[in-house]
Symmetry: D2
Subunit: 310 residues, 4 copies
């Protein structure tokens, strides 16, 4: 395919369509959108969304909520921090942009907790704690998966931008494999001291593996959209390995490169040697901050799905 010179254009779908004929990550972005478009409209495919990093405080809750609301994904695997921030923001907790460089020691004195060029405050976490306390009072003792707990919490939240609420409405499971590695996990631990209310992550593993095992039995394929690396990426890939049902579509958006040997940056090719991804899979990796790639991808997918006007 001959490279074609890009021409500025106002519509983001036409912008991405042109990138298909360019190179490097611009081209990869266009290929990623094409694969995702095919994946989300393939009725015979179970679709998983994994995301790590500070996606939610960065302002992309609503995108995830709309993905879920549009039926694009059947399950979500993410970090406790993203769930924590989603709920806190839904409850009125605020995240602000830092407008200039302030030393971190000074931010500490001002009660501002920094996330690169953002800050939040303990007020957000107090709002979450108050909410959680009440939410747990209405939850009977027992052993829960994270997706069961989050469905309960999501059902109590009234915010159309919350992806946890959207998932609860649509009965899309949210799995948080490192649950206690988050403010939410810690608050849960504190608030359930003395109760017989437990999180059992093996239930989450069972559900996700069974989902894929079942898909295999019914000749349905499985696809994944991975934003960032870490536990969400590994947990999704691992479940495909265990179910012995390699993924057929995989798109990852990451800034972790393979040259240092870690799983977060590992290529999708490498995953084929493990049987996590099918050798016939449609795959694309875009090396890009997802605060740039995700808004483009989401906008184009919604245009193509006729959910927003071109």
């Amino acid at each position: 395919m001959k490279v074609r010179d890009f021409k500025p254009v106002s519509n983001v779908d036409r912008l991405v369509k042109q990138l298909r004929y360019t190179a490097f990550n611009g081209r990869a972005l266009a290929e990623a959108v094409d694969i995702l478009e095919e994946m989300v409209s393939d009725q015979n495919t179970i679709r998983l969304l994994g995301f790590a990093g500070a996606l939610i405080p960065a302002g992309f809750r609503r995108v995830i909520a709309e993905f879920i609301g549009s039926g694009f994904f059947h399950a979500v695997v993410t970090t406790g921090a993203n769930v924590t921030h989603d709920l806190a923001m839904a409850l009125g907790g605020e995240v602000h942009q830092l407008q200039k460089a302030i030393p971190d020691a000074a931010l500490r004195r001002m009660g501002r907790m920094r996330i690169y060029d953002l800050y939040t405050s303990s007020k957000s976490f107090l709002l979450l704690e108050r909410f959680l306390k009440k939410a747990l009072e209405s939850l009977r003792d027992g052993v829960y998966s994270t997706y069961e707990l989050l469905k309960h919490l999501g059902s109590l939240v009234d915010d159309e931008n919350s992806f946890v609420a959207a998932a609860a409405r649509q009965d899309v499971k949210i799995i948080v494999p490192a649950f206690y590695d988050s403010i939410l996990g810690v608050q849960f631990w504190t608030l359930t001291q003395g109760r017989n209310l437990k999180i059992d992550l093996s239930k989450d593993l069972s559900w996700l593996v069974n989902l894929q095992f079942d898909a295999k039995g019914r000749d349905r394929s499985v696809g994944a959209f991975i934003l960032g690396g870490g536990v969400p990426k590994n947990f999704i890939f691992q479940s495909a390995l265990i179910a012995d049902h390699p993924l057929r579509y995989v798109v990852q958006i990451t800034v972790d490169v393979p040259e240092y040997g870690g799983l977060s940056g590992a290529t999708l090719e490498e995953a084929k040697s493990w049987g996590k991804i099918s050798s016939k899979a449609k795959v694309a990796t875009v090396y890009c901050d997802y605060t740039i790639a995700l808004p483009i991808i989401a906008s184009v997918l919604f245009i193509r799905a006729k959910r927003i006007k071109a």
Copy 2:
């Protein structure tokens, strides 16, 4: 400023306007566009464009040509490779996308020279050589700057997507500080053996420093848009230092980070300590492959300048 949840949208200007309220490089991209918009419409500012890396073979010649054609920049500093590819493509040389992984030794046997996920062939360089031979025959002996040579070459090229041709038409200077570090430079060297036709890069330095010295004298500010690092970034910054007229607008798009101490990744803040950039300058750095960032930036700048329809 409170973070606002991004909402998918079809118009790229409205997409970027929303990113202004998000975080990380998405936010930085929006800030970069705002600064560039202000810079290119500031009639009291001399505007420089620097770019390194394989931007031209990647498919972004026309963007640069339209920048020049729109009067956005008064001078361009770039690498010999980008000029080489622009001319070769204008002459019918082709750059193709690689469609699958092929070992480089096999590509070698097929006569395909790889640029990551692209390839070109020696045919491109033969076209260039034939053109250059003729072009040099019509150039009298003497000592030339690179901008003079490139104006001559650009004036002989008939391709609206060529940025070298666009610059020749608009009398925008193109400076290539490492001229001999390119196929074009090598062909020039070969074809001028025995002639008294020379490139003197000190003429390029003089012109660029004088441009800024003159701007200083007339109370005009200077701004720069830098894509990638390397010599173009340093040469522009250095000329501001020598003219003792720190830059007032600077936007850089790069994937080189500061943590390794090199100039390509150096922050714009660091340049303030040198007096290369004014402490009051409007600056933004976007860590992103420019094959993604540039098409967005260009499209939004043209929408805002009413050069394309929103």
Copy 3:
């Protein structure tokens, strides 16, 4: 401090001492070693080791085992994959270097699972499964933390290079916050179906938070050495936050940069705004593949502790 020109030298301690007078990550490495030396010899400090990424299959099990055997650390937080590989290697499972580029689909057919430039095979995991099956038979039903489970497993392993075995001997706790995100976790889940044998990660959280809360009560400081980012980094920092006892020493070795906003690459300065790290803490970040930085750091620490001959 004036930069001093480095002079080649055969002793790695003298090499690092010279780097102290250089720049960038060379200087940072020397500062990191100085901080770690002070930290591991500070009897009034609780010392934590966190590591993510493929450190163990890469050949650095023995270094971790020697750190533990030397009393350098009181607790370890890591990934399930590293524990999985440590046990598999202790049981005779092999990890090999790839000697040339082989397509991943071909590796799949050869039964080779790739980790960048390494490969392992399912034999390793079968050895682990057989071992685990037996180990779990000797474990009575109940609810266990990961450190309790790993102490049991480590006590059954006979390999001086195994860090899990070393930790069991020294009663150093190993915490794996995303336990089910690993082959070991999956095998545990499979082998305990139908039994009343459970992992409860809130016990791990309790222990680690209490360790730091207790340190605070006794005026003892806490320090951390972090290799890679991910869950281990966050889990250690979070426990300092909850115990409200900011860390006094922190060294991190990473290739994740801050410019993309994620926690793995977040600066140690940022952690001060949260109260995870003390504003008076001694900190250093080295941007380097730990397969290069760790062998140097470990060698110099052992030389200075007179555990190996200079």
Copy 4:
């Protein structure tokens, strides 16, 4: 080859020998040293050294000077900035470590020019200017290559740590393809106004291409050690292409990754498709800050060459 667990050790050669059996960039570093050892002791090989980035102010002048003094390299290709700093330091100019974070605007007021965690001052450049003025007075009018100019300058410098002086003594050519992109270039330009003293970079190109062309004619191979990317890497590779004599040994130390398509990060495999590197070449790429990799490599090479005591 089976991975072997690394064991801390005091001798840097034995440290690196062990890394040969590990993974990722640790393994690559060991392979790089083996290739360089073979290359520098291969009497039938022309050896080139290329380096970019702030290597010299970072404290690694003496390493380069010792490489040259030991006969390891026949020619050096570098940036004007590195030559500038080498000469300034030789003349008494100082580079200092920054001991804490100071805003760049404040550094500006203090007359400190920052290079990441270093600073220098205009005094260094004044010393250089005074020296250069005098040096140029003793140089008759004419057209010079950069290697001729630098030989003259190096011969006037009395500092055993200066690599420019070492090269002058050994008659090793130093080529600076982007000469005017540096303080030295700018001072030269200023001081030669009105004189008939010119730099002609085509002479540098001629010499380097002829060196390789000649090597080809005599069945001698060519090898290169590349620190950082940019113009030095490209200029060396390009000269191999033009001489049609692909390199037989190449080691590069870089933090630029291939995933963004630029030449600095391009793989050595890619260079094989162009015929810049032989398909049978011995090559290694180490992704590492050279302030860490270079002192290790240099020390081991000198141990193995018996230039320092093991």
